[in-house]
């Protein structure tokens, strides 16, 4: 932890970055995001097992971007969240720098290239329990799946916390705010909820790095991360593209191979 603070202090003092985004102690034992701009303030940075929130979402916020180059602290697995926005030209070495945290130690990743090297050494596939959660639904009959998702999604409050928490949901104008035509009804209705979650999943196709922040943000713990992870697995298996694996990854749905699968097309 001291190492992390020292690193943040150095980065700010030398002017290499203007803001360090990290975790800090909040109220009632909760963790909150911190935005440190003064090297003297780096002492409150912390990292422990409660620091799960994916701070990459802040790297793309206009308010943070206008501060200047940002350093984001992240559990090492979340580094994909620095690489995927880079693949989409949202961040670059000029605007962000990542500080990795692995086993309580700060890992220096001065460039996105070095972050990519690091990511290459870890598996980006879903963890065993995530795979099992995905497979559990696949094993259901079609009717069971329909009933399961209806039951889950009809509870959705349409608070859009999943969208707000997702580092990849950075569009300044979202289709849910579009009212001519009104693609997604404003109130929470069973149909509108399904449409929203299909749309969210499809718009994250080949882009979701599977950090699970949408589910953590969900006030009623809907398993919506499974929808994006399911597509993520399809895209990885079908097109060989794993979101977050490279800062130069092509977008699965805006590229193609002439020999893409088409056994479902008559």
């Amino acid at each position: 932890m001291e190492e992390l603070r020292k690193r943040a202090r150095e980065l700010l003092a030398t002017g290499e970055v203007k803001v360090v985004i990290g975790y800090g102690e909040g109220s009632a034992g909760r963790i909150r995001p911190l935005f440190i701009t003064d090297p003297a303030g780096a002492g409150v940075l912390m990292f422990d097992e409660r620091c799960l929130a994916n701070l990459a979402v802040y790297l793309l916020k206009a308010e943070v971007k206008q501060l200047g180059k940002a350093a984001g602290t992240a559990p090492i697995r979340n580094h994909s969240n620095g690489l995927q926005p880079a693949a989409e030209s949202q961040v670059s070495d000029e605007t962000v720098r990542l500080i990795g945290v692995a086993d309580g130690k700060a890992v220096d990743l001065p460039t996105l290239a070095s972050a990519e090297e690091y990511v290459a050494s870890v598996s980006l596939e879903p963890a065993a329990e995530e795979k099992e959660a995905l497979a559990r639904i696949e094993r259901m009959t079609m009717e069971e799946r329909w009933a399961y998702w209806n039951e889950q999604l009809s509870r959705c409050l349409k608070c859009y916390a999943c969208r707000a928490a997702c580092p990849m949901c950075y569009c300044t104008q979202c289709t849910v705010e579009c009212n001519q035509p009104q693609w997604i009804p404003v109130p929470a209705t069973p149909l509108g909820n399904l449409e929203w979650h299909v749309m969210r999943a499809m718009h994250l196709a080949g882009r979701c790095v599977g950090c699970g922040e949408c589910r953590r943000a969900c006030p009623i713990d809907l398993p919506i991360d499974l929808l994006t992870k399911k597509i993520g697995e399809d895209v990885a298996a079908g097109f060989g593209l794993r979101a977050g694996s490279s800062r130069k990854l092509e977008y699965a749905l805006s590229t193609y191979r002439p020999d893409d699968r088409e056994d479902f097309i008559r």
């Binding site: 009804p185 929808l227 193609y256 097309i265």
Partner: protein, 147 residues
């Protein structure tokens, strides 16, 4: 009770399948009248949300059809669409929607007979499946939006 008549919405591209469907007509090939055709500039323009809206508006099945690979008027619209359909179809399946209700096909401007066959076979298949009551119940549930 009268026999169930499926309502099928077809999203087709302007350059191949729409012209192909035209050829079906000019060739005097009779085919199921259950299909309502919506013409698009290209399959690449067919957003998955439109498919959902068709189901919400009472479609029992959907046909999405365009140019064969390498025949796209815009070079690659159908290649892009193919990836989107593959992803979307898998998601629908994961959500428990019967993917037999979404039929994708390549029908060229010369394939009037194939168009009739696609429509006829989809109509027959959906006649077996019955009306898409699951989705319709969902559309009818919750707050009445009017209009």
């Amino acid at each position: 009770m009268a026999e169930f008549e499926p309502r099928i919405v077809a999203f087709v591209c302007n350059w191949c399948t729409y012209a192909g469907a035209d050829l079906t007509g000019t060739s005097r090939i009779k085919y199921a009248a259950n299909v309502e055709i919506i013409r698009f500039p290209c399959t690449g323009r067919i957003d998955f949300m439109l498919l959902l809206k068709a189901f919400a508006s009472g479609a029992d099945a959907i046909i999405v059809s365009g140019c064969h690979p390498n025949d796209c008027h815009y070079t690659s619209g159908n290649f892009h669409a193919r990836r989107r359909w593959m992803t979307f179809r898998s998601l629908l399946d994961y959500l428990g929607i019967d993917v037999r209700r979404v039929q994708f096909s390549w029908v060229s401007a010369a394939e009037g007979a194939k168009w009739a066959e696609v429509v006829n076979s989809t109509t027959a298949a959906v006649r077996e499946l019955g009306p898409f009551t699951g989705y319709r119940q969902l559309a009818g549930a919750g707050i009445e939006l009017g209009g």
